[in-house]
């Protein structure tokens, strides 16, 4: 079997997902038996303009100027995988989306400079057709490998659960953050990560996005009443990673 030619591209992001992958060690090295990286900024200096089998895109689409580059990637890639929260949902970049003075807030009088152009942060799918999304901040390494394994096997569908993080916390018998007097967005957050954060005593921040039909009203109530968050925090809590999934987006 010929190796699958893969390239990694980044847009508005911290490139942490690329780092996450290079940190994975042995499974990633084993994966290289099946895939051939032809462009990967965090790990190699070569670049390519050749057709590629799979394009992995990291980061959100937040400047109109990026549309052309995305279209160009789409044209020469057989499969496009948007990976990481920014690419899959706009991620933490979308935290600004409900405001209109974010540029002034961050850059002050430089806000109008052309290279600082920044519009609403949107998922990559807002600009081009995306075949697969691997959510998460950072994306889950094991899930990434699983998706790539499926692609190498020519599967055109990859299963990613649609249920919330609570299912995975319970399966691994994690003490609920609420039982520890903390708060958590687990009940409305998309699972698939294996729920590592609550297992380490850290509340889920919904970095993989929200489930379909999240009960946001109940979440706000539970954050306030069980999680003891002040009203405003309870209301805004899910803007961190899921601004684009909120009912008010």
């Amino acid at each position: 079997m010929a190796k699958v030619k893969c390239a990694w591209f980044d847009f508005a992001s911290c490139e942490g997902c690329q780092i996450e992958l290079t940190n994975y060690g042995e499974p990633f090295v084993e994966l290289l038996e099946h895939v051939e990286p032809v462009e990967f900024r965090e790990a190699m200096s070569e670049k390519t303009t050749e057709p590629i089998d799979v394009a992995f895109i990291e980061g959100s689409f937040t400047r109109e100027a990026d549309r052309r580059r995305l279209e160009e990637i789409r044209e020469r890639a057989g499969v496009v995988v948007a990976y990481g929260a920014c690419a899959a949902s706009g991620g933490v970049n979308a935290l600004k989306n409900h405001t209109d003075d974010y540029a002034e807030e961050v850059y002050g009088e430089d806000a109008k400079r052309p290279h600082l152009d920044s519009q609403k942060a949107l998922p990559i799918s807002a600009a081009i057709k995306v075949d697969y999304e691997i959510p998460g901040c950072p994306m889950d390494k094991a899930e990434f490998i699983r998706v790539v394994e499926q692609l190498v096997h020519g599967t055109s569908k990859v299963y990613i659960p649609s249920y919330p993080v609570c299912v995975e916390c319970k399966r691994r018998e994690t003490v609920c953050r609420y039982d520890d007097g903390d708060h958590c967005l687990g009940p409305i957050s998309l699972a698939g990560c294996g729920a590592p954060c609550p297992a380490d005593g850290i509340p889920c921040e919904a970095c993989r996005g929200m489930v379909a039909n999240p009960n946001e009203a109940a979440m706000e109530l539970v954050l306030k009443e069980n999680g003891n968050l002040p009203e405003r925090w309870a209301k805004d809590k899910s803007r961190m990673f899921t601004a684009n999934h909120r009912g008010d987006a």
Binding site: T155, S156, K157
Partner: protein, 280 residues
């Protein structure tokens, strides 16, 4: 592929391996497979029963057997290419293998149909599971009374088993009628939902035994027509579809009240489930 199972701890999840003898796309999304067990054993089943068809690394899906058990050594399945597993199965061709668990569940009570007039109402891909019964009736034609088949599809492109349909249209042993929701320029037949076929025949009487299989929305409307004709609900058999993971009455996915579609169905006498919420 071989199975090296431990006899002391036999697993209900271990499948048979089946060789694909023939595989043809019959619409843009449906693939028709002819299969034989690799062991050489005959795969015996009743019309209307189901199997879990699978491919390791991808999973299993429940499928109705699409040929009559009287059809010789091979058996037919039709895969609608939609999800992860069906896409993988859809890539298989003659010479490949897939796995089969079954036969599972209850088929049509064939003996109860003998000597009776029969109507089969099939919508879309619902034709596949009832094809096992259609073929069975045609193979034992003298055992049954009048035989009518209604088949409805969305468009002429969604008509399955075109060779069969052509043969059935000309077959004096049965009364075949079809309709499409949306015709194309070449379509000269009936247009409209499947229930419009009831106006076009007088052969359905209160004594007719009826089989219904199609999309969830179809059952209610067909049953309404049958009520008007006066067909008792104990003479109506519905072939239901649900997601199934295990096929052996454990995983809970196909449950309707206290019934498991995989074990108690997929064929149910309508009078036995009409009061069960969430069934139809």
């Amino acid at each position: 592929m071989t199975c090296t199972c431990n006899d002391n701890n036999e697993s209900i999840f271990l499948p048979h391996v089946a060789d694909i003898i023939d595989a043809q796309m019959i619409t843009s999304t449906e693939k028709h497979f002819k299969l034989k067990l690799q062991s050489g054993e005959r795969f015996d089943y009743e019309p209307g029963q189901i199997v879990e068809a699978g491919l390791f690394g991808y999973g299993e899906v429940p499928l109705g057997l699409a040929s009559s058990p009287t059809n010789g050594e091979s058996f037919d399945l039709v895969v609608r290419v939609l999800g992860k597993v069906t896409k993988a199965l859809g890539d298989l061709n003659a010479g490949d293998t897939m796995t089969i668990r079954g036969p599972l569940g209850n088929g049509f009570p064939v003996d109860e149909f003998k000597g009776e007039d029969v109507l089969i109402v099939a919508g879309g891909i619902g034709l596949c599971p009832v094809r096992s019964m259609i073929e069975y009736i045609l193979h034992h034609r003298a055992d049954f009374g009048k035989f009518t088949l209604f088949f409805g599809a969305k468009t002429p492109h969604d008509l399955l088993f075109e060779e069969d349909l052509e043969a059935w249209r000309c077959d004096s042993c049965m009364h075949y009628m079809d309709t499409v929701d949306t015709p194309d320029a070449a379509w000269k037949g009936n247009v409209g939902v499947i229930t419009t076929l009831f106006e076009k025949t007088t052969e359905i009487t209160p004594a007719t035994k009826v089989i219904i299989c199609g999309p969830p929305i179809m059952y209610k409307f067909v049953i309404r027509e049958l009520d008007m004709i006066g067909v008792p609900r104990s003479n109506i058999f519905v072939d239901l579809e649900r997601r199934m993971k295990c096929g052996v009455g454990k995983c809970g996915h196909c449950q309707i009240n206290d019934k498991y579609v995989c074990m108690d169905g997929p064929v149910f006498r309508y009078s036995e489930i009409e009061t069960l919420e969430e069934a139809i």
